[in-house]
Symmetry: C2
Subunit: 366 residues, 2 copies
């Protein structure tokens, strides 16, 4: 009995159930197992949710904006972890995860150009560097981009990750670290026998912890593949605003991911004709020759969004730690989230993730 | 020995190999088995070629044009067979094959409107009826169509067939009639041990009978599905010319098939971004609300095209009957082709299919 009590309150040998097998759940499970927890991960379809559909760009800097210092701090804290986190996974898996090292945000009109200067100044004040490129420099960097682009913002170090390779690598690393993966749906956290629970079920987390302020925001993407003789893809993630819609092209080893629509549509994951039409139009506005590519796949996922677009990561009870609300930034936020969850399981808080504390909302205790 | 000779020269118990398991090969095999032949069908992937991608509209009338009397005669001969042919298959399979009973060709500009009058007069001279509809009548018939449509041509009896249900029904009917289906690739007709051969391998027929004047013409289509609350699909096949491209919407039980691009691109069956873009744009020009539909599938097939857009059906040697070159009209031409092939196996010629005789080209004998 004595030893059982010790096990229950230590992170060495105590049990934790991770609910959700996307990148967040898998990374939390992996890191928790490395920290000495006995981890079981529950998901009827590991790796099939929003993580599977993601573009995988890591762009907290070029999405920076005055007033959104907390989002920048949290995102940058995770971006800074990515080289170490990704490198460890690449060595373990033998897979290449990174598909580019930099991002290029482009302005198609004068207002967008003004915004790029605003972002550059904001990043400078935050101690991050970003370089404004002239129209000519943009085309020198990425000659396939539209001639009408007026200005660019180059953010070194804003890499991109192949989300599906990442899922494979994380799953392998978790298994190697001793995580047991059970293909089962969890309907009630109280039914789990583990000492602790990590709730990382994306937008569905709100069903398991009622009141949690996370909701699904549908996003459609296209996966294009290079064909023989096509205009080469950009070597950097290219971002821009087209007809008021944020659009991006993320390089892949075999082509380009085009994203993404945003729609509050409940749990609908059907790709619509209008979504495809807009994504193709926006991609062509950035890169006119993209019509040459193979239309390989169109897919939709449900981003788990929080009210303030900052994740919700931390303890919500003595037993349960949540890790959701990552919105469009789940891949980016994976390393820092895993660290924060392991800290929370040990009763600590990761200072960089203070803005993500669930206590900022009125989350009902149970 | 005597009986063996009799078997060799009779259609009762003699053997025939059908090479190709698209709608043409399956229908020929089925009808030949019904006629008393012992039939083996060879295809490594039955039902996976152009037949799988087809739109399935049966529109020889609304594609009529002065000077193309032979194409009209051949197409109309098959259209006239479809109610009986399709009905027999529907009863045998329990599947619904027909997805509409009529076609509506629409004009988006004055030149197209003039063309519709030309077609109506041509059909009248050929003893077929087609009704010109005013702008208002078009919208009364199909209220979801674009307001800018100037004129319509309604062709009763130009139905459409669910191509995939047709493949399923034909495969079942062929098997029930005793056709043996072998999932193997035929590389040499001389290696087949059967008495007779029906070569129905689509564009690949030219590889098995060098000099046969059939070539692949790539076509891309979209399969859209209705979503809850969407604008209802047309109840008729809708055809029109958009930006110089022929476009069509073919009703399905669960949505709409949008077709089709046309590209001479060798054996390429990748769907391109530009193809999807054009199909969506053309579909929206016909039916503005089509963006609401689910983008369910994009696919490409290789139409087996002949130099004069009339099929190539008939004996090319004492042993071999070809049935290919159906271009965009393979589904339409299935019933009359099967009849013509069974006639050719018996040494006869179907008068309606005289324009399709292989002898009109210099097909090398072997």
């Amino acid at each position: 009995m004595g030893s059982e009590v010790i096990v229950m309150h230590s992170n060495s040998g105590a049990t934790v159930s991770v609910v959700g097998g996307g990148v967040i759940g898998l990374a939390c499970a992996w890191r928790a197992a490395q920290a000495g927890w006995h981890v079981t991960l529950h998901d009827p379809a590991v790796g099939s949710g929003a993580s599977h559909v993601a573009g995988g760009m890591l762009a907290p800097l070029s999405e920076g904006w005055p007033g959104e210092e907390a989002a920048l701090a949290v995102g940058a804290a995770s971006l800074d972890r990515w080289p170490g986190f990704g490198g460890e996974l690449e060595r373990a898996s033998g897979l290449s995860l990174f598909t580019t090292t930099d991002s290029l945000t482009v302005a198609l009109d004068a207002a967008d150009a003004e915004d790029l200067h605003t972002i550059a100044e904001f990043l400078g004040r935050a101690g991050r560097t970003a370089r404004v490129l002239t129209r000519r420099e943009v085309r020198e960097h990425e000659p396939m981009l539209a001639r009408g682009i007026r200005l660019g913002l180059l953010t070194d170090g804003e890499s991109a990750v192949d989300n599906r390779a990442l899922l494979t690598a994380l799953r392998g690393a978790a298994a190697d670290a001793g995580v047991e993966i059970r293909g089962e749906q969890v309907a009630d956290l109280d039914a789990l026998e583990s000492d602790r629970v990590v709730l990382a079920a994306g937008h569905a987390s709100a069903r398991l912890w009622p009141g949690l302020q996370v909701r699904p925001v549908k996003g459609e993407i296209l996966r294009l593949r290079a064909r023989p003789g096509v205009t080469p893809a950009p070597t950097r993630t290219v971002r821009g605003v087209v007809h008021g819609r944020p659009a991006y092209l993320v390089p892949r080893a075999d082509g380009i991911v085009v994203g993404a629509t945003q729609l509050e549509a409940g749990e609908d994951t059907q790709v619509t004709v209008a979504g495809v039409r807009d994504l193709v139009a926006d991609a062509e506005a950035l890169m006119p020759a993209i019509g040459e590519y193979e239309f390989h796949e169109a897919a939709a996922g449900l981003r788990p969004c929080s009210p303030d677009n900052i994740p919700i990561v931390g303890a919500v009870s003595d037993r349960v730690v949540v890790a959701t609300g990552h919105g469009r930034n789940g891949i980016l936020m994976t390393p820092v989230t895993a660290d924060a969850v392991v800290a929370a399981l040990a009763g600590d808080e990761l200072p960089e993730m203070a803005p993500a504390s669930p206590t900022r909302f009125a989350v009902p205790a149970r």
